[in-house]
Structure formats: C-alpha cells, structure tokens
Subunit: 392 residues, 2 copies
C-alpha cells in the first residue's frame, strides 16, 4: 500500500481519523502515521477543523487539503485564449481571457500564457511556489508523449514546437499539453459527469472531432489521433471533396463551413458555424433543415462509434451544438435506429453543459490529475521519506 493509496482514501474530501484509515486499508497504525506525515509535508492533506488543536493532543481528523496548491488551465483556440486558476478540487478561483490569434506563432501566444499564469497567481494572493502544474489545450493534433503540435493545420509556426520546454523555461512546473477536444472531454466529465467512465465528447464547429474516455481514461491511440471523426466517410457524399483530399468526409458535409456554404447557395448570408447557429436560433427554416440533416450525417458516424466503443454518454459540444436541439435530434434519430439495443439501452446523447468553458475546465482537470496521480505522489514522497541507501 503506497502513500498514494492512502491519499486515494482521502480524495473524496471526507475527513477521517488515522484509526478509520487503518481499518479500511488493513495497514498497521504506524504505517498509516508515516504515510499521513508524508502527505502533510506535501501539503495534500491537513488536520481537519482548521489547523492545530490547542490542547496539545493532535487533531483526530485528517482531510484532503485542496487549497494548499493551485494549477492553471489554459484553453487556446484559433482566435481566443482563456486561462483559469483552480485549486486541487477543481474549484475555479479566477479567470482571464483575451482575443489572440494562434497564427501569430508560439512566441507572442506563450508570452501571453506565462503572463496570464503570473497575473492569476498574483491577483489571487498565491505564491508561485504554490503552483503545482499547468495544463493546456491546443487547437490541433498534439503528440501526447512530447506535448508537441504535429502538422497543425491552423497553427503556422507551431509544427513540432517544444511547447513544454518553452513554458518551463519561464515557469518551472510540470506542463501537460493535449488537443482541444480531449481536454473538452476531460472538462465535461470532471465538472458535470464525474461518475461516467465511458464518455465521448464530440465537438462540432469549424471541424469535427471527438475526445474518447473509456474505462475512466482518455484514449489517445498509437499516434494520438484517436477520435478523428471529421474524416470518416459518410455514405452518399462522394461528390463532396474534403480539405484533406478525400471525398465524402463527415467534416466536408456536416461541419460549420459546409452548412454555411449550403445556406449561401440558397441566398442566405452565412460564413461560420456561429452564423449557422444564430440562424437556427432565429428560427430560419432553411438553417433548421440543414442542421437537422447534419445531425443525421453525424448520427451515421456516431452509430458506428457506439457499436465500436460502447460509451454510456455521448456529449455534443462546439459552436454548432448550441443550435437548439436540432443537431442532437438528428443524431439521436439515426443512432437509435442503427445501433444495437444492448449498446443503446442505457446510452444518453446530451448537449454539453460546460459549453465554452469545457476546454479551460478540462485543461485544469488534466493538471490536477497529474498532481494527484500515484506516480507524481510517489515521486514526491520518495525524496521525502524513503531516501535510498547506497547500493552495494
């Protein structure tokens, strides 16, 4: 039983006595005492009830101490940036945002990020030594092992840039990087669906992508490209050429630009996913029909995804998803018709609750996950309580 396992017993926030912990873990009281000492020195747990008791006797209750450290989550989009300061329970303490063009390249954008981190920490009267990690989402493919963007289509100047090294030269804490859809999946789960172990988050906007959580863990695949829904082939769309060079990709028929183009061809003024969503909300019948059909096209791919992955919840987010319930209605129509009863009997297809904040919440959640991971706790504990004797 490691120190991190003892921490796991306290992670739910319930205060417990050392005797409780010994009983549920089966560990000796002396073992529990040394593990708790280590966790207190790391600042992860604290006496419950507000510090030292006055009677000399140590306080009986111990609890997770989420306020001792903070993390910053950053969501970089094509033209916006948001950063949020959060404690280790995921509670947001403060947020800053800016209009920022990702195409300006790493130097100005990451300079904003480091300044935002320092400002957030300072404004909220925390010290940089309390900052435990930074999590960040980028609007393009990221090689997870290195945190480097790989051929990101809308991020000129970022290809294979060492984002982690760049940030750590300014602020030396662990930095975790992932693509925007993966962190949106984490954010939605962490904030609104914590008990769901099998969740897929689909973002429908200028592009279409998915973040896949299976068995409680984000699944990135061999090259980090898992969840690439946008370039799945849709039946009967072979006349449409996609920007990837293939024909009949989902993105080429059901993402924002395709729907806007379809509306323009019937004389309506629309350019972006956002314009299309506004037209739907305004009751434009043409736009309603176009979005409903996009939902059906998406539904074909989601039905396959349900058969292959068997999630319990599919969350629909992104700027097109806010277009009322039309998109989701189209998706449901096809999924419940096409997928097997055993896979759909408990399946929910729901709009994102986190909405625009899914990304920044997920970036913070990714940082917290790292700080509270058994590996990070063991690594910190090891240097603290179990110095290795010289071998030989």
């Amino acid at each position: 039983m490691r120190t991190s396992d003892v921490f796991d017993l306290l992670r739910d926030g319930q205060p417990r006595t050392r005797a409780d912990l010994a009983e549920v873990s089966g560990l000796a009281r002396s073992t529990i005492a040394s593990r708790i000492d280590a966790l207190m020195r790391l600042g992860l747990v604290a006496p419950y009830g507000g510090g030292r008791s006055t009677g000399g006797r140590p306080p009986a209750l111990i609890a997770f101490n989420p306020g001792a450290h903070v993390v910053v989550g950053v969501d970089l989009g094509a033209t916006h940036a948001v950063a949020a300061l959060s404690d280790l329970s995921g509670q947001v303490l403060g947020e800053v945002r800016a209009d920022l063009d990702i195409a300006d390249g790493p130097d100005p954008v990451l300079a904003w990020v480091t300044q935002a981190v320092r400002d957030l920490v300072g404004t909220h009267h925390r010290s940089m030594s309390e900052l435990a990690a930074i999590g960040m989402g980028l609007p393009g493919p990221v090689e997870h092992s290195t945190g480097r963007p790989i051929n990101p289509p809308i991020m000129p100047g970022w290809d294979r840039h060492d984002v982690v090294g760049h940030l750590r030269r300014e602020i030396d804490v662990p930095v975790l990087i992932d693509n925007d859809v993966n962190i949106m999946a984490l954010g939605e789960r962490h904030q609104h669906l914590p008990s769901e172990a099998d969740l897929v988050f689909i973002k429908v906007s200028t592009g279409i992508g998915a973040g896949i959580i299976s068995g409680g863990r984000l699944q990135r695949g061999a090259q980090g490209t898992a969840g690439d829904l946008g370039h799945v082939h849709v039946a009967g769309s072979d006349d449409v050429v996609c920007r990837c060079g293939n024909r009949g990709c989902l993105e080429a028929v059901a993402a924002g630009p395709a729907l806007a183009a379809s509306l323009r061809s019937s004389g309506v003024d629309a350019e972006t996913a956002h314009d299309v969503a506004q037209l739907v909300r305004a009751g434009d019948l043409n736009a309603v029909q176009v979005v409903r059909q996009a939902g059906r096209d998406l539904g074909e791919v989601v039905a396959t995804l349900v058969n292959l992955i068997n999630p319990s919840v599919v969350v629909i987010g992104g700027s097109l998803a806010v277009a009322d319930e039309q998109l989701i209605a189209g998706i449901r129509e096809i999924v419940y018709q096409r997928s097997l009863p055993l896979a759909t009997q408990h399946l929910r297809i729901v709009p994102s609750v986190a909405g625009e904040r899914a990304g920044v919440l997920g970036a913070a959640a990714m940082a917290i996950e790292h700080v509270l991971s058994p590996e990070a706790i063991e690594a910190s504990t090891l240097s603290l309580v179990e110095p290795a004797l010289p071998a030989g």
Copy 2:
C-alpha cells in the same frame, strides 16, 4: 512503492540482487527485503539458481518464478472446447480438446470444463493447490462485471447463467469470463505482439467482431459490447436484411454465411465460412472475388475504426481470414485510401499468427493477468505481512 511494484521490477524474468532492486526503486534495503519475503511466501519469486545455496549465505539473485503456480485457459466455441494448462509465463504445459455443442447448455459443458481442469492438473503432476485461476472465453456477449452471458444468440440455456459461481462450486479459484473475440485479442498480443499497446483483433467467421486493446488495456465499454463491428452499417447495402433486424449490416454482407449464399446463387456448393475459405485456397475464382469484395466492405468499417481508435496493429483472424491474403488485401485497399496519413503511417494490418489457438492462449493470459495484477498481489500480501491492528 507496493509489493506489486517490486514484483513488476522482476516480472521481465531477469534475475536481480536485492541491491539492484533497491537502486532502481529508490527504496531502503530493509523495505526491499520485506517485500521480497512476501513475494517468496506467495511463491511468485524465488532464489535464482535452483534453491538454497549450501554455504549458509543466502543466494544473491532473485527472479520471477513462473512455474510455482499454474492457470487453465478455456476456449468454448459453438461446437468445440479447448483447455490449456499454462504456467505464469504463459508457457503451455498441456492441452485437451473435445467436440462439444455449446447449445447443450451449462450443465454438461461446464462439467467437461471442470473435469478438463482436474485432468490437466493431474496429468502434469501438479496439485490443485497450485492452480491460481481459470480464464474462459464464451461465444457470445458477456457482462464483464459478473461474467454472465447476456442474450447470447447461439447459447440456449446460458442467458444470465452464473458461470463463475457454477465453476467455483467445483473448483474454488478466481474465474474470469469474457467473450471469444476479447480473449483472442489478448492471446494474439500476449503470445506474438507483447509490445503493442494499441491492438485491434478482428474475427471474421460466421459473425464479425473485434477485441480492442487501447493504452495496453482491453476496452469493453459501458455494457461490455465494445468492438461490435458486425452490425455497423455498410454504405450501399440497404437491400440486405441482417439477422439483427436492421439493413445493410457488415455481417450481413461480409461474414461467412453471406459469402456462401452468394456463391450458391452462382451454383457453387458452399454453406459455411470454412467452405468459402477452402474454395479460395483451391483457387475458385468466384470465391476469390467474393472474399476480396468482403475485404473491401470490411475495409470501410476498419477505416472508420482506425480514425476513431488509432491502433498500431489490426490483426485479422477467424476462419475466413485463413482464406489466403485476399481478405486482407481488400481491407488494406480501402483503409490506406480512406484513413488519414498520420493514423496509417505506422499502421500494420496483419493475419493472426496465433490462429485457432488465439482463444485458448488469451483465456490463459487473462487468468495470468489477474494472478499477477497489483490488486491480486496486494490482497494476498496484506493478509500475509501486514495484519491490521484493531482499530480504536
């Protein structure tokens, strides 16, 4: 650092000294000594070099001791049963097989299983106390948490039968149950592709299904139905009705019975996937074309799977896969055309090497995984070395 973590350092089979282990783990020598004691008492590690040294000094090297315990893997098919005795390294010590009709129901089939386990253990001069677990695959959907078959189409009498309880009343060791395709994925990986963390095994036979390993773990999904390829919709096949009641399912156009029916309509005598495979091997041009087209239909779904899951290897098994390279050629043709370069640049699509033995090897691997899992080791260790003091 738990006992199981110390075991993980020895699992590769390399003998190591206590000093080596202290150095790589960073643990104190005294901690290593007590962990190794526990693992020796569990029989999982042993002095390397054949037992006690004679000089009074304890032997310096310690190694994983895979022969101390055995497991039995069982693969139940529609009309066959195979059971294999294996040590904890996955080396098969003996095998028995029988023609057995799964439709006879749980009583006679599970009676064969318990007898086969006892026979294998006895024949190979092991005692039942050395048997650490039984792993078993069933030809139908299994609820993983309970090991019960759920509405299995070809297993009358088995629906929701308590297979684990049934076997444990006879032989009281841990029993792990899963569906046949999942254990085939485990078997192929364990035996032939141990370094692949993202592997999909597709079985093409009377039905079509997949076992999905992502991030090194079998992914079963929320209801255990993940990998259900057979009922994914294939474009342009809406005139074909599937046994599930839907139209245009992959299984209804590309599995054995569909191909046999297509061959019969042109006057060739074929009933099963096996017949079709034989015709291909005999060079029947009609059969070659039919299987090649089935490969292309499969390829459409595999291309989607590659986009969604991003595996590094797709293994094709089952009785149709042995039909030369025709099936795989058809799959490759579509996947490399349809999937994105980043997902396919390192992707391999290969025939199963384990073949008919993938199932029984995987069932044994599932049992070994359980015996060597941190949870199982910790649970055994806890009762051994760290008795809880009375709480209070």
